[in-house]
């Protein structure tokens, strides 16, 4: 594949959205393009967007699946607000994404799918390719399907298999347009179709045909380059949040030297963590696909009781079911990591769409006074470190920890500067081995004076036989107790134990130190908030940003930080759950800004809102 003789234009950033039917392989195409782009050293951020239905009727709007990738020669924080390029594999894909395109955007359409029948499926009487309605865009009509089938005529594969390779044609074309290195895609095809060499050859040929088409057709007069970004030196890989979270749990097992036991029940969008962890048995990791969400956490808690790092992974509806067992874990004071990959609710809601609306449930969704630790990752790669932090808190303080990921970071991806194992925190724990009472008795609820954690005495340890349970326990002995003063003491002690967890201070980004407005976020909104703040600063409007990783306990300096600003804005993908906590706890009248569309904030939305606050107060 030659470099070609066309004019090459330099760009600093591009946003491309691949969109097609659920069966068109758009997630894979986007993923491959991302991988090629990563190899080139651009900074990247991606956003897959797909329906919950596995295969909605072909060619319909509900069946549209898309993958957006933003890449740049500088560091970026979001997958981009609006695509510069849309690849639309059928009329539904065009219609579903048209509203997001700015004027002047390139649209590459698969004209083969623009039949009367397909147009009718999305309610178009005339073809937008012919009726002039796409006048403000640069439309590139490409007969993707028929050219792919034509290119593969001599490959001895079925027409259906040939048609399926059209996504590789599209990938070849886009790879040519943006001067992407294609070696990783060739290797990928060789791996994926290892058992069917004819498909390796066909898909390679389709990719090549797309590349060649770009080079020869007059419709594409320019190809583009985006130079590598200046990133910190080191080895990188591209990673999604769910992958990073799973690897973080593996790292927690390694660094704690404990067996890890994952109890899980399949649920979107958390199942990929179960899939990933089930591959890593050599690290002493057991994964159990339980009969339900309750059994999943029950088994994890049983394993923790036996001396493992117990973990359960789920999404909102699963956390609701696990509530009683989380309460038991609080009473038993055993380590447990509960991962909630949030999705839009209530009830089944929108399983493949994002939201941050489980914060209240994580903080308060249990009976009785049942405090625990809550943390949230801010980006896909941060899921790795958040998982380790969740394990650290669980193991050190013998408490359940809820880790609030969400669909946006779980399925989005970005380059990740690989850490080395030795620089990760040491999570070693000490099990109790000898009686701790003055009279030679073992006191299972005698606490460490510093952490307030009780001893972890696992079955198999001679001389420490003891009984624990959900009934209120007497201080120190752990015997059943209905004593009023004891209950008051235990409730307050359990709360104090969580409040005493050592969490780092929240940091404030305030480049000019002139800001009067602080924007406070948590979890996955870090990217769009950060991008909006940068844009404002570039325009000379000062703004400060603080982002919470620890939601319980909150950082000790948070009150001081909040009171240092005239206005505090709290954007959340819910109806104001953190805002309510902040108001109640610090008596600071924060300004909530909320979006519950199932989609992440765009940087532009936040920029507009924050500009208004900065200028008008």
């Amino acid at each position: 594949m030659s470099a070609g003789a066309k004019r090459v234009e330099q760009l600093d950033r591009v946003v491309i959205r691949f969109a097609g039917d659920s069966g068109d392989g758009m997630q894979l195409t986007g993923d491959r393009f991302t991988s090629e782009t990563a190899q080139l050293g651009n900074d990247i951020s991606t956003l897959p967007n797909f329906p919950a239905e596995i295969r909605a009727p072909a060619g319909t709007l509900p069946g549209v699946s898309s993958f957006q990738v933003h890449f740049a020669d500088y560091d970026i924080l979001t997958p981009g607000d609006a695509p510069n390029v849309l690849v639309a594999m059928n009329p539904a894909a065009l219609k579903a994404n048209l509203a997001d395109l700015p004027a002047g955007a390139d649209i590459i359409v698969n004209t083969d799918e623009f039949t009367k029948r397909s147009l009718a499926k999305v309610g178009w009487a005339t073809s937008p390719l012919e009726d002039g309605s796409l006048g403000e865009f640069a439309v590139h009509p490409v007969a993707l399907t028929s050219m792919t089938v034509g290119a593969l005529a001599d490959h001895g594969i079925s027409k259906k298999d040939a048609e399926r390779a059209k996504n590789m044609f599209a990938l070849g074309l886009l790879s040519w347009m943006y001067s992407r290195p294609f070696e990783s895609t060739i290797r990928f095809l060789e791996r994926k179709f290892a058992k069917r060499p004819e498909l390796v050859a066909a898909n390679k040929a389709a990719f090549q045909a797309g590349w060649n088409f770009g080079e020869t057709t007059e419709d594409f007069a320019v190809r583009y380059e985006v130079k590598p970004a200046k990133m910190r030196p080191g080895t990188y890989r591209n990673i999604t949040g769910n992958q990073a979270l799973a690897l973080g749990l593996v790292a927690a097992a390694v660094r704690s030297k404990l067996p890890l036991f994952l109890g899980a029940y399949p649920i979107t969008p958390a199942s990929d963590i179960l899939h990933e962890l089930s591959k890593h048995k050599k690290f002493g990791i057991t994964t159990m696909q339980a009969e339900d969400e309750i059994a999943a956490i029950g088994a994890a808690l049983g394993a923790s009781y036996g001396g493992a790092l117990g973990v359960t992974t789920t999404s909102g509806p699963g956390v609701a079911l696990k509530g009683e067992t989380i309460s038991l874990a609080i009473a038993l004071e055993l380590p447990l990591v509960v991962v909630d990959v949030q999705r839009a609710g209530p009830s089944t809601g929108m399983p493949t769409k994002t939201e941050q609306a489980d914060l209240n449930m994580a903080l308060f969704g249990r009976h009785g006074e049942a405090p625990l630790a809550v943390i949230a990752p801010k980006s896909p790669s941060d899921c790795f470190h958040a998982a380790i932090e969740a394990a650290r808190i669980a193991l050190t303080y013998r408490t359940p920890v809820i880790l609030l990921s969400d669909n946006y970071v779980a399925n989005g991806s970005e380059p990740w500067l690989l850490p080395s194992s030795s620089e990760l925190p040491d999570l070693s724990v000490e099990f109790a081995t000898a009686p701790n009472g003055e009279d030679g008795r073992f006191l299972p609820y005698l606490r460490d004076p510093e952490t307030l954690a009780r001893p972890w005495a696992i079955p198999g340890t001679p001389g420490l036989e003891h009984r624990i349970g959900g009934l209120e326990k007497a201080d120190k002995t752990g015997d059943i107790s209905y004593d009023p003063a004891n209950h008051e003491f235990m409730v307050r002690t359990r709360a104090a134990r969580i409040e005493a967890i050592d969490v780092p201070d929240v940091e404030v980004e305030d480049a000019d130190e002139a800001a009067r407005v602080l924007v406070l976020g948590w979890g996955s909104t870090y990217g769009p908030i950060g991008a909006a703040c940068r844009a404002l600063r570039q325009r000379g409007l000062p703004i400060a940003q603080a982002h919470l990783r620890h939601l319980s306990p909150l950082p000790a300096n948070l009150g001081e930080v909040l009171r240092a600003y005239d206005k505090v804005v709290v954007p959340e993908m819910n109806l104001g759950q953190l805002a309510q906590v902040i108001r109640a706890r610090y008596l600071v009248d924060v300004l909530p800004f909320n979006q519950v569309s199932g989609l992440p904030f765009t940087a532009a939305t936040l920029e507009n809102m924050l500009e208004d606050v900065v200028k008008n107060g």
Partner: protein, 334 residues
């Protein structure tokens, strides 16, 4: 078996037993504590896990490791413990409400997985701790606080349910028959895999005399069928009744005289034990006790342990982790 010189007293905890005076649970506790030394297992390697209900207080009274958990979930919690700690002897104590109502799902899944658990279900056919509502083993039409006009629910036959889940060990015994109870516990303890033991237990407060027909000396011989492996299944004051396989029919039935079947706990097809379990109805008219089924199939614990063992790799875990993190398309920035 190691002689650890333990006695029943070593298995008594320092906690005051708080069941109602006269409760059948006392007899079961004494039988279990009396039998435990026979296991030859050090106390620290024994764990009792329970759910919620009168019977679920049991772990507090055993001087072993123990967890009194939440309603119905003991089999799930014990599964995680047993699968991650195959070195332990894990016992689940549960009741008819705990195991068959709220925890029915966990019970059947533990049994189908054949987790190495010994599950003791104290069946008193009533809710005791919540003061006297009908349970999933109460007879149809049972009049209780919550069913003044009689319950409209048909009861579960716990053994049929366990056998439907293909439990590998299924037995029934009675609180008041210490010798029989201990012999069944012994067989359960010897079994590799899930052992499900239903223990008829009298609640003298809310359902007193529920099992009188098969306990009272004047009536029991004509109603209680004692199953013994390798022995013909006959019963009656004069041994006049036989359990027979009717020609051309399904299942088993009771008749006077005739050629009794010879009991075999090792029959692989659960249909045989299931047919035996169907002899007992709510009226206790013909109630088999003893070991119904005792067969071998791989346990969940050993399958999980094998997978871990097969995957085990030598080498530094930190290095393996670094290799894993780098096992992708990577690029380096200098």
């Amino acid at each position: 078996m190691v002689d650890l010189k333990l006695t029943a007293k070593d298995f008594k905890s320092d906690q005051e037993v708080r069941w109602c005076p006269g409760c059948g649970d006392y007899a079961i506790l004494a039988a279990v504590q009396g039998f435990m030394p026979e296991l030859g297992i050090p106390r620290e390697n024994i764990v009792f896990v329970s759910g919620i209900g009168c019977s679920s207080r049991f772990p507090y009274y055993m001087n072993t490791y123990g967890m009194h958990s939440i309603h119905g979930r003991a089999p799930a919690i014990a599964t995680g413990l047993s699968a991650s700690r195959p070195d332990l002897s894990v016992w689940v104590v549960t009741g008819d409400g705990d195991a068959l109502s709220i925890g029915g799902n966990h019970l059947i899944h533990a049994l189908r997985r054949n987790v190495n658990l010994k599950i003791l279900l104290f069946n008193n056919r009533i809710y005791g701790l919540t003061k006297g509502q009908y349970s999933p083993t109460s007879e149809l039409g049972k009049i209780t606080k919550s069913t003044p006009a009689g319950s409209a629910d048909s009861p579960f036959n716990p053994l049929s349910l366990a056998l439907g889940a293909e439990a590998t060990f299924v037995a029934r015994t009675i609180d008041s028959d210490r010798k029989h109870l201990q012999s069944v516990l012994r067989a359960a303890a010897d079994h590799q895999g899930s052992a499900f033991v239903e223990i008829y237990q009298n609640c003298n407060i809310f359902n007193d005399g529920a099992f009188e027909l098969i306990k009272d000396a004047s009536s029991r011989d004509d109603h209680l069928i004692r199953l013994e492996h390798g022995q013909p299944v006959t019963f009656g004051a004069d041994n006049q009744f036989s359990v027979v396989h009717p020609a051309g029919g399904f299942g088993l039935k009771v008749q006077e005289g005739g050629e009794a079947i010879v009991h075999d706990t090792s029959v692989d097809d659960p249909a045989y034990a299931f047919a035996l379990s169907r002899l007992s109805g709510s009226d206790l008219g013909t109630t088999p006790i003893g070991v119904f089924r005792d067969v071998q199939r791989p346990t969940y614990d050993e399958l999980i342990a094998k997978q871990l063992n097969d995957a085990r790799a030598d080498g530094s875990p930190d290095q393996m982790l670094d290799d894993l993190l780098n096992a992708a398309d990577t690029w380096t920035i200098l």
